[in-house]
Point group: C2
DNA sequence: CTGCTAGCGTTGACATCTCAACACTAAGAA
DNA sequence: TTCTTAGTGTTGAGATGTCAACGCTAGCAG
């Protein structure tokens, strides 16, 4: 073997092999993210007839009390101006949000939008627990938080 | 105004606070994935005039010796038939791959495609190290591998 | 008033991803 | 042979994301 794995004979089969190649570790990271994402979305947004970006925006508006400047919304999500504009246009056509000019542009939940996010919100927490945190030990969560913060 | 923020005004300071809410933990996961992804792609695919899906497909073909059945390629990536078909059509138009009917469809690297992936491959490993594994301790990597496998 | 600059948002073009519907091939049953 | 079924690919439409270019508004200098 070109990569020494320490003295152990072979206590942990494939795990160490996968760890040797950074690229494989990265692939595992991507895979894990994708799997959790698909399951959470299936249990929340899709179940309510919303897409993932719909849910993201509605949740942020709700957390902010129901309305935000478009630029603040974009900043809080780390989204591009163009991206938020297109997404809000689509959501406006479906009656989830309204936009009004007031210096900048203020985005607000409609009744329909508020109803949708209120219905989904508790399920979101449940879904994340079921598909992610319930499968991890407290110590693993601590480790991951530390890692995520560093990246 | 209508939303009580507890005592502190800072949104994300205390690790323990973020850990308490599964949804925040999930947000941190998504953010970490996105940050690493953007940096790795910027250092590899974009630097070579390729997109992320281009790179993914070229790397898999290269690892398999230069050609694969379209269905095997899709299976090894966990991609949809439709997705691989559209992507290969676009890549074919740019001269990166060819497709030939032989029972199923066999996808092969062109000279141009092989040149591209050969040029990028070493940089990919370096980029993943720089933006991910170099920032983690050996023990953290062990923990993450264990977690990723479980999900 | 005119012109400049900067911030903010929109638009159009294109790439990507997903879904539903269709086409082709191979294998087996009638 | 003919029909059926399963496996495999393609196509078109719609949703999403990114880039470049443009338009609008506000503030500020001339």
């Amino acid at each position: 073997m070109s990569t020494p794995n320490g003295g152990a004979t072979a206590p942990d089969e494939a795990a160490t092999d996968a760890a040797c190649e950074p690229v494989d570790f990265w692939s595992a990271f991507k895979r894990a993210h994708e799997v959790v994402r698909a399951r959470v979305i299936a249990d929340t947004a899709e179940a309510a007839g919303l897409s993932e970006p719909d849910l993201t925006i509605l949740a942020n508006l709700d957390k902010a009390g129901g309305s935000l400047r478009q630029s603040e919304l974009a900043a809080s999500l780390g989204w591009d101006r163009t991206r938020i504009s297109h997404q809000l246009t689509r959501m406006g056509k479906r009656g989830l949000v309204t936009r009004e000019r007031a210096g900048g542009v203020t985005v607000a939940l409609t009744d329909s939008g508020r109803t949708a996010i209120t219905a989904v919100h508790p399920g979101l927490d449940t879904a994340v627990r079921r598909h992610l945190t319930d499968k991890l030990s407290a110590q693993e969560i601590e480790t991951l938080i530390s890692v995520f913060r560093r990246l």
